[in-house]
Amino acid sequence: MNQIKKLEQAAQAQIRQEATTLHGRIVLCGLLVVFCYSVFWLGVLLLRSVHGSSSGFLQVAALVLALQLLWNQRQRLKQISVPSEDRLLGHLLILSGVVLLPVCLIATWSEPFTRSLIAAIVCVWILAGIACSRWGASFFSTYPLCIFLLCIGLLPKPAEISRGIWQALTPPEFLERFMTWSGSVALHAIGQPAIAEGIYISLPNGAVKVGWGCNGFDMAATMAVASFVLGLFLKQSRPKIIFLMIVGVVLALVSNIPRIVLVSIAAVYWGEYWFNFWHDSWGSQIFVSVIFTIYYYVVMGLIKRRPQKQPS
């Protein structure tokens, strides 16, 4: 209780000190808006995590890691002197963000996704202004990891955004067609006369469509982000983190092939109940647990086999 009281008193003293200067007042104004948004957004993320969303939990982890990285650097950050042009730029960013947020929320009131996306962008904008006016523009080149984690943590539905970017940059149904072909090859390997036609796997008793949800992209993206966060948590070097991400993505895509085989057989031979079982949440969770178990042993094997060089 004493510690909480001390923290409260320190916060009050800091706010009083900030409110004495124009710069402090502008930063406080920006922080107030960011705080309101953060409370709302953390609520949304915790609700998502409680409902079983892995991305919600990963986003909370990314935010906590970013804040921890900043907290560890607090002594170094305190000593940075800010050039006047960076302070001016920071103030312009904060003030424009504070004015922009309510305007954006009113302009996009009918579409929840756009509203939360724009609110997140403006929030990041204000944070960029605060960082620029407090620590100068060199902050962005010194702490790119921290900025990336904050952006990942604040963006709403990163899966939707990554899907949009993937579909915009690749030929139509690229991954679905590849998975259909791989699935049919795997079915052939176990003696099933499967034929791949576009995004359909045809078997003698029926056909199965490999849609967006079955192409393994979401799992690959989740594994990439999970590997990134795990690499940071285990304090690995940058090349090793990239290697872990590649391992995660390849494992997710390769593991998707037996899933397609199983779901195709369930749909064509075992009936609707078993198709729904393997296709929906139960089947997905069994697959995810199998993937994460394999991934854990692969990653731990890789990390233990090549220990990081200690500075002499």
Partner: protein, 199 residues
């Protein structure tokens, strides 16, 4: 004397004068272009806004180039440098604000396109159902044919919706990318100008 001063003259005054001339020409060319595209102005109309910001994003590199040349051309006039640098900072921030507007407009137009395709697909499905119920067509059209036609409409509508979604996303991404990158360029130019003013 003449042989010494000529290269100096060419080296410093000519370069700055050239930069001023080319810089102001770029700025004027950009303004004329945007006025021609933007007139008559109807900022409340979605289609006008999307077209205007797309053109602004594509042409903005000329504005950035012109501003950089004007800044360099007036490097000795500290007062003017400060004004140009401040204008660059404000323009950079305005470019970022306009990219937020493009995000909003892209989602609205995508939604409109998807709704239009859905409406047309529903109308076609209704026509197919009516033709099935019409006793005059009972002998000509088999239930299998009706089912096939209905399935084809659903598949085509889905494909069109996916194409519309990807097309709008691509166009939006291109506009936003241009606006953000050039906006960052302007902010960098503004910071550079303000540092230059201090000496």
């Amino acid at each position: 004397m003449a042989s010494v001063s000529a290269p100096n003259f060419l080296g410093s005054y000519s370069a700055k004068s050239l930069c001023r001339i080319v810089g102001f020409t770029c700025l004027a060319g950009f303004v004329i272009d945007m006025v021609a595209i933007g007139l008559p102005p109807s900022p409340l109309e979605l289609q006008w806004r999307i077209n205007f910001f797309q053109q602004l994003g594509e042409r903005s590199i000329i504005l950035l180039f012109g501003a950089a040349l004007v800044l360099y051309g007036n490097v000795e006039n500290r007062r003017l440098i400060q004004q140009i640098a401040l204008a660059c900072l404000v323009v950079g921030i305005l470019f970022h604000i306009s990219s937020i507007l493009v995000i909003r407009d892209s989602t609205v137009i995508r939604q409109q396109a998807i709704e239009t395709i859905s409406k047309q697909a529903t109308q076609l499905q209704t026509q197919i159902e009516q033709s099935q119920n019409n006793p005059a067509n009972a002998t000509k059209v088999t239930p299998e044919q009706v089912q096939q036609a209905s399935k084809r409409v659903t598949t085509q509508a889905q494909t069109l919706q996916d194409n519309a979604r990807t097309g709008v996303f691509k166009a939006g991404l291109s506009s936003i990318g241009n606006l953000v990158v050039v906006g960052l360029g302007f902010i960098g130019l503004g910071r550079f100008g303000l540092r230059l003013r201090k000496g």
